[in-house]
Symmetry: D2
Subunit: 331 residues, 4 copies
């Protein structure tokens, strides 16, 4: 009964089907029909012109985006708990050729306009200090919290007002949109680039890097190749993404995962460390509590000394979820 | 009737099956059972201790290998027509942080011990000139030629005698071994690293980066993550590679592709620009010749002003091959 | 009456003389007699085998050192207020090809063994988190505080015990040794590399990068060239450094600067923000206080909203110092 | 009697004087009066708006320029014998973060419009091949040959017509202008950036990086700092450059060096390997010839198996030059 992560869940049957249908020969790299129609699919989804490129990991999507937004001598403002800062093995430094992550704080691993403004104001405008040229936020955040559309709008205004560009790490963007129930664009409005996550949500090996600032497209295409991320049989990646978008599978899957998390949240009650707004549940759990849960067969990660992180997925077993909820109540 | 490339061919049924069987949950990244058993599989194949890591492209395999062998201020001796020099969009410069490719010549896109020695000797041993620290050769070469085991041995001796390390780009290593009919190790003996190609040979999205110098393993693992190439559902890549190795599917597929190429070579006769030792056929073909072939429905790339490149694959349709052979004879 | 910084002070007459004496032709780059004898000079100074290379800035010295100690995917633990983090325009990211600075805290901009241990322990030993491979401290620190020999020894033990390497940014190392009155080695014992500052202390354009770990020498020589820092008339830089070492000019100059700072410190009394252990004085000074000092003709930088930073130099005019001390007392 | 190189010659007295006059305190880095007036000085020299920045080596000047003109995934077309390709220890790869040098041929180490066009045309316009974004030529070339103003104009037209940017490595630009006797702009017209060499021509440690495309200025300023090349006492570098420009010292010095070379060229006659158009003389010289010259006390470098390179400087001793000319005649 695994609640370790959503990042190793099985592949959704519709994704498998789409991959199998891509088996006929077509042009290599991204010259195939499926890859070539991604722009159109995302332009329809977001209601504005987009360029969309498949890549094989969220790290690649995020870091190609950052490298398109900042020069090697520039900086990216992000939250201290951002995935790009903590869990990408230094990939931002690699893809950007050494640009600097400039760290801020904020509840629920979310930045605020005030925090962004404060950070930018503290940096002397000279060559001795690294100048920020972009801001990166995560929607859903690393602590399972979402930015409301109004918060996204306010951040965009702030970021753009400072002359910076906004990147959104959307490894769990689907969970955010499912939670917010809003038009997808409202959950990322004003961003220059969005890493549109699929892998945690039922795909196998494809994320979509969506460029709202289409002037970046040529550069990102070159950088994707240069990073070894232009797979020759790209049609199998494009097929996964199309399958996720078709009939809003991405939202259905996210709703399933979010629903399971809400069930756990209801059981956790006062134990919750953060509001549960997606598919991650952080709860206060002493070592003895954790041992008790594990003794019942539940898998999850510790969260600091006195906490636990539980992650649901598109295919979390309802019986397992109910059992875990009951076990939490018994603590 | 496509002979453009082997890099967009369909996925072999046994590979599909293996991927489907990997669908049950397991540890993320490369912590799963399948990824963890790659070392063993390749150690058995090559008869010596190996570390083997999946990556999603030949470019990534080659460039992670080079980055492990040379420091940013170092150099890699390779053939002027090497894939790493010509068709990887500058990826070697990216992964190695600016190391230099030092170009040599040789028939059939193959380097010789003498050429390697000549190049190394011409470089002054000072800080003004970039010092080579590795040699990269391609087995099968970019012109469809193979190195004989004795040639590989001689190159290894030379390279190691110079204090350098040998990398082998084996995007079509299977075709070389199938052609040579030798023990796999003899086709790459003395190499520190081998990019063991699967994608052109029936897999979907997985190459194996094989490290014979196992001291490189820790470094390559970190670099793979840092390059965004540590996929979270890595078991689907490992499954592909295991499927290729099982019952020597890799050799069977390569033999099929090589056989088709031999059929074309037999038809080409005097038109051949290079000996056909794998699955690529380069033939003299005037624009009118090429137009004639294309008029019959054959797809292929021009090769310079007066040539054509024909590439067969594991699943080349025997009828198409026979038809092309006949068409070539009619030229 | 400038107390802005020591980084633009005049060149000491003995340094001028040494440069003039270097005017005769000699070998280019670092092949000249003066450059070639730097190793010997520093080996004598520190009582152990050293390699010493001139470079033209403290930034270059620090960053070449870090690049020798950590790979591109590695990290460097340093204080949040370290010069390498704040005022080198991202140079560490450039020279190391994207390695990460991992920030810690500590009074007086000094790290402690406990803090280093805490930081290292918090980093998971996997490929997802950047692994530290070096620690960098600044002696004298950016807040004008020195590490006692016992503190340096304890840090070295900790750093080496963790399997890391120690770099010391010694832009004001002379001021530290002058303050401590100890054998120079005791002020940097256990370090692998030391940026031995000369420019702030009476030289024009030469710092010495001292390598106690001599296995780094070959690598640093290549990297210095590759960074455009191997000047062709290097003898003029070597001459500056030799002049600083001769008859302990480096200590005499530092003592002069430290003495001036002590005079100011005595006047500042309760206003001091940090103990004055070198040539920098940080004092509480409201905007009105600062305006009053500036009205009397004193130049200095603000330090936050309510502070001032006063820096003395080897050639601070005693009259100016006395006048400033009197002015501070009048506040 | 040294003819090894001009790169280690003594510093001109006027340069010494200017440096001494810079000894009074001024703002650090490039905030001083002398640094701030470089733009004006070069704008006057070239008759158009320029930004001019001091750096400490020709390598730094060239590579900062290239990094401003090409992105990390781009390429620079240059001659196979260019200094940036051969003798900068991989610095272009470092500063540009891995951009590729794309090599061409041409007599006297000079590129032609036809060669540039040929190279550009051979590169497929896709992400698999590195796309050139700049061309770099050397005026005076590495073989002591100059481009005529009409040749520079033709190259500029070609380069700009291809949508590329032109960089000129002018380590010996003074020698070219002195030889051509033309307006300085005509010797570099159409370039975006020029490395204006001073060090080989009587300065100590300062080259001027001249940006005709002033939109590059902000970027280059950040990159100079990030490369550790923003010296804190920059006024001593600016002073050197001003001294070189004052009363056309740069041309007088170059004429002296060129004149000495002409004297040697006259003696060499049929032995000349290249026309002598600056201060370098390449002559056919068998090992026995070279031994004979060295036996008489002349220092110089071999040039291949059967050649010698003789370089004169601004301060070549007329007696030594005459003696060498006589010795050459006696061979």
């Amino acid at each position: 009964m695994q609640f370790l992560s959503d990042n190793a869940a099985a592949v959704h049957p519709a994704v498998w089907d789409a991959m199998r249908h891509a088996d006929h020969a077509d042009m290599p790299y991204d010259g195939d029909r499926l890859s070539q129609s991604l722009d159109e699919a995302f332009s329809a989804l977001f209601g504005r012109p987009c360029t969309a490129l498949w890549v094989a990991s969220g790290t690649a999507a995020n870091c190609l985006a950052l490298a398109a937004l900042v020069p090697p001598h520039g900086g990216v403002i992000c939250h201290r708990q951002a995935h790009i800062e903590h869990h990408e093995g230094g990939a931002p430094g690699f893809f950007t050729h050494g640009a600097k992550l400039i760290l801020g704080d904020g509840e629920g691993a979310r930045l605020t306009p005030a925090e962004i403004t404060r950070i930018a104001a503290a940096i002397g405008n000279d060559v001795h200090e690294v100048q920020p040229q972009a801001v990166s936020i995560t929607q859903t955040s690393e602590l399972g919290c979402t930015y409301q559309p109004s918060e996204i709008a306010a951040i965009s205004d702030t970021v753009n007002g400072l002359g910076l560009a906004l990147h959104i790490d959307g490894a769990r963007f689907a969970n955010a949109v499912a939670f917010l129930g809003c038009d997808p664009w409202l959950a990322c409005q004003g961003a220059a680039t969005l890493s549109f996550g699929c892998i945690k949500n039922g795909a196998m090996s494809a994320e979509a890097l969506v460029l709202f600032d289409q002037e970046l497209a040529d550069l990102v295409r070159h950088r994707r190749k240069r990073a070894g991320h232009l797979q020759s049989k790209g049609r199998y990646l494009a097929a996964q993404i199309h399958a996720m978008l078709k009939d809003d599978l991405w939202l259905a899957n996210a709703r399933a995962a979010n629903g399971a998390a809400q069930e756990l949240a209801g059981a956790a009650g006062e134990r919750l460390l953060h509001p549960v707004e997606a598919n991650e549940v952080f709860l206060r759990a002493q070592p003895a509590d954790r041992a008790a849960l594990r003794a019942e067969g539940f898998g999850f990660y510790d969260w600091g000394a006195d906490g636990a992180r539980l992650v649901t997925a598109w295919n979390s077993d309802p019986g397992h979820v109910a059992a875990l909820a009951a076990a939490i109540r018994r603590l």
